[in-house]
Symmetry: C2
Subunit: 413 residues, 2 copies
């Protein structure tokens, strides 16, 4: 039904790479040796990949100036990761990182341009993605090129319609693909949870689940207050990533489209530090029970150093390693879980029972924590049913259901 | 009456340094050898100084992170200028440059802070200026540390009152002075013409003329449409910088306070290219007729390369050198004028006739092109009177008038 890449026989496990020294400001003083230290630590946990985040203003300080040296540093980081034995997903246009929005000056202030709708700004981003893709093409450890991290965090300051977003994503995905050329790399995009849970949010589940080579999900436990609502050790929290994969699968046109849990993490106080190792084990293990899981990429590798100001409190303690480079208990828990899963046979039995979901942009919040659909799914899950999700428009489509291995469709009460 | 430095026996002549390759984006890839090439060209014109402009986001990407490497590059540029035989004024917080506003991410978007009024943001800028001052202190070719380029361009996006501005300037000037320590360097600030001509603009003439070690003026011919209104070869245009010095002198508390024509230039189409050499000669020569002139610093050294997008049209052709590094006719005109002035005795006769100006924040526009006071002064000037400017509050203060050498105060009709 599509050209989606089949999930690899085993899911990938990795981490979002947050440089220990200087956070992403380290791009200003890129040092391959320091990066190598961080990456060796990551590889030492048995993880197989990292996701990396260059900064837009450094790559493209003027609309028509892409700094070759900055592009080269991205390529160098990919190569350093290869030396450490890690594959790499490159997010092109940052954009949003841990509450900070990195915009080049030519989009702000007197030069304000809407990054989603201004034609010259879209073209500039397309040029950047083509350039990055072309520079990275052919590297054997390159997983692919993603447009940018949670682009929809920029919606608040760049008002945009669904049609605008679709045009933007289509244009940039095509540019990234052109850049990569014949390289067998993924081209993807990502959005924070508003795409799945936000009524009338302009980034839609359909855009996430149908554009690009696979679907990325970032099921954070603070979204819709999931952990606060149900508790840090609740089934709802421990199955959140699994649920996110199943929900995303329902929106895909290709029943076998892979879904990547590209960000999940244990933010304090939503997940108290003592609960973090258990949360990591459960999250990864439960997500690994999804047949079409592409992989899980933990957020993040290293704590933000407290010498850096103004991060939301929860951002300081999300690392597997602390700001001095010491592994935290969650690092060990993640490493052990990954090793265990790799040693186990991958579950092959499809989810035979699906819970039907009415697809309505304006009622998306029913699918989020606190929503009726979410809670119905979690009730079924508590009965050990391992439910899938199907859209009601597919609920009587035998071809579709067969392709997914679904034998029974349940309607929520 | 104050501790203002006396004007040097001869005014200084220099240029605002706009790097030929990559404009100010060249800070991202600082290369002392490339800077040296540019600076040697500048020194080759017989100019004695440059004004340089580091970028705030590069110096201070996080509120509590001042990049030592970026500070060091500023110091390196000062040293490279010394090797080229040039003195250097360093503008600390950019801020505004040629229509682009460079703000660190921690002041924008989700983290929006008013750069003039937020206490932590003021403290961060004070830290930056202390750090820069300390790093630069003791360099014999350092003219001083200015807070930043035309800070009042940021008012539009950071609403602020007169009292707020005064507090901001006082705090940062003190920080810059602390940073320089015992170094005999100037500590100054700068504003674009709205400070002088803009009714109720929160940066006041008093702030310009009374804070910091001398007064800086940036009398641009496009302000209040001066060149369009009177013509590019009009007396109003050719005496604009001279008028700016006299106007600034009136607002000073120290009658001998030096005034620096820190920016003036020949923007097309306001000044057609063919008129630019004549404009430069007249501007510099007329300004040099002001007894308390500190110096004239032309804007700018090098044209902006047209491969860089989105600059206002006039910004592309303001250089003494074109984007390939060739000197333009205006470079020769400026060099010759500077050489001539250095060979001539400096005018020592005071301006004995002054035109009285009513000081009212809300009627400042009378002092600008098109304004009644401006036009009255220019009429007197056309009679070869060489008028000074006095505030009406000083018009009968004999001590004050004597200190300035004024014998006759004329009221505008």
């Amino acid at each position: 039904m599509s050209t989606s890449p089949a999930p690899s026989s085993a899911p990938r496990f990795g981490v979002n790479y947050t440089p220990r020294r200087g956070w992403f400001h380290s791009w200003y003083d890129f040092d391959a040796a320091l990066a190598r230290e961080d990456l060796d630590q990551i590889a030492g946990l048995g993880l197989d990949h990292v996701r990396i985040f260059p900064l837009w203003p450094l790559l493209q300080p003027n609309r028509t100036l892409i700094r070759a040296s900055a592009v080269d540093q991205v390529a160098q980081l990919v190569d350093v990761a290869a030396e450490a034995g890690l594959d790499v997903m490159v997010d092109g246009v940052q954009g949003h990182l841990s509450s900070f929005d990195f915009y080049p000056e030519w989009t702000r202030s007197w030069h304000h341009r809407n990054v989603f709708t201004d034609p010259e700004t879209i073209e500039a981003q397309a040029n950047l993605l083509r350039t990055l893709g072309s520079a990275l093409a052919g590297r054997p450890n390159l997983l692919g090129l993603q447009l940018g991290n949670e682009l929809n965090n920029l919606v608040e300051h760049n008002p945009v319609t669904v049609a605008d977003v679709d045009h933007y994503l289509d244009t940039l995905l095509a540019a990234a693909r052109t850049g990569l050329g014949s390289t067998a790399g993924l081209v993807t995009h990502s959005a924070y949870d508003a795409a799945w849970y936000g009524d009338d949010h302009p980034f839609t589940p359909e855009a996430s689940a149908r554009k690009g080579d696979l679907t990325t999900v970032h099921p954070w436990v603070f979204s819709a207050d999931c952990a606060r609502r149900y508790g840090p050790r609740s089934p709802q929290v421990e199955h959140l990533a699994e649920y996110g994969v199943e929900l995303a699968t329902a929106y895909a046109e290709d029943p076998a489209r892979p879904v990547w849990v590209q960000e999940t993490g244990a933010p304090e106080p939503h997940i108290p530090a003592a609960d973090a190792p258990g949360f990591a084990r459960a999250t990864v293990r439960n997500a690994a029970g999804c047949a079409n899981l592409y992989g899980v990429t933990w957020w993040c590798s290293h704590d933000v150093d407290r010498s850096l100001a103004d991060f939301p409190e929860l951002e300081y303690t999300l690392g597997l390693f602390d700001a001095t480079g010491r592994p935290k208990p969650i690092a060990q828990a993640l490493a052990e879980t990954v090793a265990e899963l790799r040693a186990e046979p991958r579950p092959t039995e499809p989810r035979t029972t699906a819970l039907a979901l009415v697809r309505t942009p304006g009622t998306r919040s029913i699918s989020g924590p606190g929503g009726a659909y979410f809670e119905a799914w979690m009730r079924l899950r508590a009965e050990d049913v391992r439910p899938a999700v199907v859209l009601t428009e597919h609920a009587e489509d035998e071809t579709y259901l067969t392709a997914r291995g679904i034998k029974e469709v349940v309607r929520p009460l």
